[in-house]
C-alpha cells in the first residue's frame, strides 16, 4: 500500500489492527500525529448559548412575524390580532431591522448575493433594491445604473429599471440603464426585454439597446461577461458622448468637450486603472486631443 493509501485509510479508521500498529510506528505517522494534535489548538471559541439566547430574546421581542396569507382565519379574534400585528410590524420593521437590507437602495457594495444565492455585480455609480421577505414566487430587483446578473434557476426573475424591464428564468445577463442609453446583453440562457411598448427576446450572444431613442439588436461573440467586470469599458459604435460619461463615472472626474461632436460613433475601450492612458485610448482613435489640469479635463478637436 502506498503512503497515500495508508493515510487515507488511517483517517477513515479502515486499517486492520496490524496495519495500524505498523503505520503508527513510522516517521511519517509521527509527523502526521504532530500536525493533527496541533490542529486541535484551533478550536472555535466557546459559545455561551444562554447568553446568546437572552440577547436574541431582546431583539426578537420587537420583531413582527410575517405571514403569507393562506386563507382567512375563521376565528375573528385571531384574525384581528394578526392584522394588528402586521400593521404594527409594518411600521416597526424599517426601524428595527438593522442589517444592510431592503427596502433601501444598496449602493455601498459592488456585489451582492440575493436571498436565493443569485449573484449581482454592479458597475460604478449603480444601485439595486429588492425585497428580502417577498423573495420566492417572484424575484424582483430594481436597478439604477448598470449591473451583471447571474440568476439561479427558479421562479420568474425581473430587473426593473427606468427604461425597461428584463425578465429571465435563470441565466447570465447584463443590464445598463444610463441617461438615454439602455442596453441588455444576454450571455447565457434567454432574456426577455420590455421597454415602452416594445418587447424582444434575446438568446446568448445577442444584445439589445436603445441609444438616444434609436433601437437596435446586435450580436457579439467571445464574451461570457461584460468587460467592466475585468476592469475595462468597451464600446461598439456608441455615440462618443456616452463614452465620455462612462469615463467620468469610472474615474470620478469631470470632462468638458464643448466643441466635440458627441454623436460621432466610437468603437474601442479604455482601462480603469490609468486615467492618462484611458484618455489617450478614447481621444487618439478619433483625432481628438485632451488636456488635463489639476481638477479639469478638456477634450478638443485636433488642430484647434
Amino acid at each position: 500500500m502506498t503512503n497515500e493509501d495508508n493515510v487515507k485509510k488511517w483517517l477513515a479508521g479502515e486499517l486492520s489492527e496490524t496495519e495500524r500498529t505498523e503505520f503508527e510506528g513510522t516517521e511519517e505517522y509521527a509527523r502526521l500525529d504532530r500536525l493533527l494534535k496541533a490542529v486541535n489548538n484551533f478550536k472555535a471559541p466557546a459559545y455561551d448559548v444562554d447568553k446568546e439566547y437572552s440577547r436574541l430574546s431582546q431583539t426578537v421581542h420587537d420583531k413582527p412575524i410575517i405571514s403569507l396569507c393562506k386563507g382567512i382565519s375563521p376565528v375573528f379574534r385571531i384574525a384581528a390580532v394578526f392584522i394588528v400585528t402586521l400593521t404594527i410590524g409594518y411600521f416597526l420593521f424599517n426601524q428595527f431591522h438593522r442589517m444592510a437590507d431592503n427596502p433601501r437602495w444598496i449602493a455601498d457594495q459592488r456585489s451582492v448575493f440575493l436571498p436565493d444565492s443569485s449573484f449581482v455585480s454592479m458597475n460604478a455609480d449603480s444601485e439595486i433594491r429588492f425585497s428580502d421577505e417577498n423573495w420566492g414566487k417572484e424575484r424582483n430587483v430594481e436597478l439604477k445604473g448598470e449591473a451583471f446578473f447571474r440568476v439561479k434557476t427558479g421562479s420568474q426573475f425581473n430587473v426593473k429599471t427606468q427604461q425597461g424591464t428584463v425578465t429571465v428564468l435563470g441565466t447570465e445577463f447584463g443590464v445598463k440603464d444610463r441617461d438615454r442609453y439602455y442596453e441588455v446583453t444576454c450571455y447565457s440562457g434567454s432574456v426577455k426585454v420590455v421597454t415602452g411598448k416594445h418587447s424582444v427576446v434575446l438568446e446568448p450572444g445577442v444584445a439589445f439597446r436603445v441609444m438616444n431613442g434609436k433601437q437596435e439588436k446586435y450580436s457579439f461573440s467571445d464574451q461570457s461577461a461584460p468587460d467592466w467586470l475585468n476592469g475595462e469599458s468597451s464600446f461598439k459604435s456608441v455615440p462618443f458622448g456616452f463614452v465620455i460619461n462612462e469615463l467620468e463615472r469610472q474615474y470620478h472626474v469631470s470632462v468638458e468637450a464643448g466643441n466635440v461632436d458627441l454623436n460621432q460613433l466610437f468603437t474601442g475601450g479604455f482601462a480603469h486603472n490609468n486615467l492618462e492612458i484611458a484618455l489617450q485610448s478614447i481621444t487618439v482613435p478619433v483625432n481628438l486631443n485632451y488636456e488635463m489640469t489639476e481638477n479639469k479635463i478638456v477634450i478638443t478637436v485636433e488642430g484647434q
Binding site: 500536525l35 490542529v39 489548538n41 478550536k43 412575524i65 410575517i66 442589517m99
Partner: protein, 170 residues
C-alpha cells in the same frame, strides 16, 4: 393533535439550543473570527423568527444555515480569514530548551497561516472533522454534499497543510 410550529416559544427556544452552537462554529471555521459569527447567528435566528409561520420545524436547520451563509457572504469584509489559537500548556513539565519552544511557536504560526489559506470549504470541512470530531456523513448532511466529497476535501486539506508546515524541515 396540535402541530408544533416555530412561532411557539418552546419550539423556537429548542431550535436555538440545538442549532446555535453548531451554526456558530460552522461560521467561525469557514469565515474566521473577524466576520462576527456570533452576530450572524443572531441575525439568522431573527429571520427565522420573522418567518416562523412559513418554515416547518424540520426545515428550520437548513433555513438557518442558508440564511446565515447568505448573510455572511453579503456582510463579508475582504479581509483575510483569521483564526485564533492558543498553545495548550503541556500536562507534564519538561525543561524545554528555548530553541524547542521557538520551533514549536514557529510551527504553530506556519500551521495557522496554512489553515487560514485553505479555501473556505476545505477549511470548514477539515476543522469540523478533526477539531469537532464530526463524522464524515454528518458533515456531508450539514454542507449538502456527498460523503465522498467530504473525504476528498479532508484529505486534500491535510496534504496541503503537511506541505506548508514541513517546508523548513528538510
Amino acid at each position: 393533535m396540535k402541530e408544533d410550529n416555530v412561532c411557539k416559544e418552546r419550539v423556537f427556544n429548542d431550535l436555538f439550543r440545538t442549532c446555535s452552537k453548531g451554526l456558530h462554529d460552522f461560521l467561525y471555521y469557514k469565515y474566521g473570527e473577524n466576520n462576527n459569527p456570533q452576530d450572524i447567528v443572531q441575525i439568522a435566528f431573527e429571520k427565522l423568527w420573522m418567518n416562523c409561520k412559513n418554515v416547518l420545524p424540520e426545515k428550520a436547520k437548513s433555513f438557518l444555515y442558508t440564511v446565515a451563509n447568505n448573510q455572511m457572504l453579503n456582510a463579508i469584509s475582504r479581509k483575510q480569514t483569521v483564526l485564533n489559537y492558543s498553545l495548550q500548556k503541556p500536562k507534564y513539565y519538561t525543561a524545554e530548551s528555548p530553541e524547542f519552544l521557538l520551533e514549536e511557536k514557529e510551527y504553530h504560526d506556519r500551521l495557522k497561516k496554512a489553515i487560514e489559506e485553505l479555501s473556505d470549504d476545505q477549511r470548514v470541512t477539515f476543522l469540523l472533522n478533526r477539531v469537532e470530531g464530526k463524522k464524515h456523513q454528518e458533515i456531508a448532511d450539514m454542507l449538502g454534499i456527498s460523503r465522498k466529497a467530504v473525504e476528498k476535501r479532508i484529505y486534500t486539506a491535510l496534504k496541503i497543510l503537511q506541505q506548508k508546515v514541513e517546508i523548513n524541515n528538510l
